[in-house]
Subunit: 151 residues, 2 copies
DNA sequence: CCAATAGACTACTTAATCTATAGGGTTAAA
DNA sequence: TTTAACCCTATAGATTAAGTAGTCTATTGG
């Protein structure tokens, strides 16, 4: 399962993508409207800022804004940063590769080969889905139409 | 990432599938040959027995055996039991479905729709891969040949 | 300049989970 | 009846997750 941090980050980003044209958005607005714990969200937004995914303005009239176009912000990136590697085992991770300590035969290992396939299809979906995609998906009524975005 | 429990369970099961014709296998054999911590492995094997995936014989000449054909033991089942749901968010889990507490619009949520797709392709692979598949994959030399098993 | 507003940053706390390890108890074959 | 094996429970130590608290810093506007 995803950590709350990762899920909250995604929710906040989708909210900000939708509010893109409205100037800086207050932490309090996001927290209240999305029902997220405010102080916890603060940390998450700060981390997103340090990642250059968001930018912020302090003081009166301040708040948070996307630092890039929604089409340039991938779900995969957010999930990796807040939840860790997509891979189910370290030996198939691209971003955090590590051989299993107990591994006897890396090349032949069947578990590894299957897990690599799982990682690859997961990465294909999550890296192919941006905030722009997510906003479009939320606008579509049918699940089938929504699925079109990543088939 | 998978828990060690889940990974060790899979490793032990593949080992037992390969040793299928040789009668009961000692915990010590599995632990030593696969480089798994013995007492930890004991717990895992016991749990697999309670799941009716393994059976055991006590006393001299005893050990562990598969309780079913390798083709009837799915990776997905083992991963779910030892690692939890395949889904990245509870609201797309089949085995542990739960609405997110902060969810505003279940039907429209884009994050949910994408995560459902991820869960579905993951489940398709892991539920479609049995111990028999894994043993066959380990016998094949090329990664491409191995991939054939779940395309 | 000052006061109010809003994010920035650091430090905790609490709870849960994971990864083992320890140490007997029970069963059954020889 | 001895002994090789699995059975079962308890517990410890480490790590991570989720959230809270409090202070600091920057900006705006009177």
């Amino acid at each position: 399962m995803l950590s709350m941090r990762a899920k909250y980050a995604l929710k906040a980003l989708v909210y900000l993508a939708k509010a893109k044209s409205q100037g800086p958005v207050l932490i309090g607005d996001i927290a209240e409207s999305q029902k997220l714990p405010r102080k916890f969200l603060e940390q998450i937004l700060l981390e997103l800022k340090n990642l250059r995914v968001l930018k912020s303005r302090q003081g009166k009239g301040g708040g948070y804004l996307l630092a890039k176009e929604p089409s340039q912000i991938e779900m995969g990136h957010i999930v990796r940063v807040f939840n860790g590697p997509l891979a189910l085992v370290p030996c198939v991770s691209v971003t955090a590769f590590e051989k299993c300590e107990e591994c006897l035969d890396f090349a032949q290992c069947g578990i590894r080969r299957v897990m690599k396939k799982v990682r690859d299809v997961t990465a294909e979906i999550l890296d192919g889905t941006t905030l722009e995609t997510l906003v479009a998906i939320e606008a579509s009524e049918s699940d089938e139409a929504a699925l079109m975005y990543f088939i």
